[in-house]
Subunit: 110 residues, 2 copies
Amino acid sequence: MNQKGEVCQQRLMVTRDTLEVIQGKWRVPIILALTFGNKRFGEIQREIVDISPKMLSQELKALEENKIITRTLYDSMPVTVEYSLTPLGKSMKKLLNEILNWGTHFRKEI
Amino acid sequence: MNQKGEVCQQRLMVTRDTLEVIQGKWRVPIILALTFGNKRFGEIQREIVDISPKMLSQELKALEENKIITRTLYDSMPVTVEYSLTPLGKSMKKLLNEILNWGTHFRKEI
DNA sequence: GTAAGTAGTTACCTGAAGGTAACTATATTG
DNA sequence: CAATATAGTTACCTTCAGGTAACTACTTAC
């Protein structure tokens, strides 16, 4: 395999890394919700109206495992849990902006 | 629902539009392959080594329906088919770059 | 003591995404 | 006339993402 081929394989792997993180119906919406400030479980659920608690819980766990968000438990009464973006999560801002930008452009063209 | 809520719903819809286009295992790789110039069916298949003809055919059709690529048939012997990016497809360049950028960043952090 | 708000979990089900292998059709080459 | 190259198609199968509905556990308010 020539040099160009290797570069292509590199690119394929890197794009797959990104896509694995943002893949699925709910991850980008969740990350987007947290770019406007830390939020509690119920707040996210109210903002993303048609997500079920099961999916929200599941996707929050996945994002936490990927070091995109942090879960903080507050020992208040009743117990509250706050989710926030890590620096890695915040580093997705430009990517999210491009997703929004292109989506807007796409709407206009179609 | 307040103004902020409406803006959020707007954002959700727009991100979904983008994600629907790039969703799946193969679309970004295919688009990426075509950013380096027009290519024939077999050329793409050789570049994206583990894609099957079924998946390539299916995803090319989907991308054509979304006006991201164009299919051109050349009546040479044997018949050849060339795929190329439309202006809309070319407009994804910044988005693709951010996918690559963030993927690279993610690799370093993890 | 029952309703409502906190943050989830569990079991079950369905449809779509993706994989495999074989096949089609046309033309050129040896 | 068999092999190879063009560009796909078809039938079948498996896995998993995502949906639904009900349930848990704790606390406060009425």
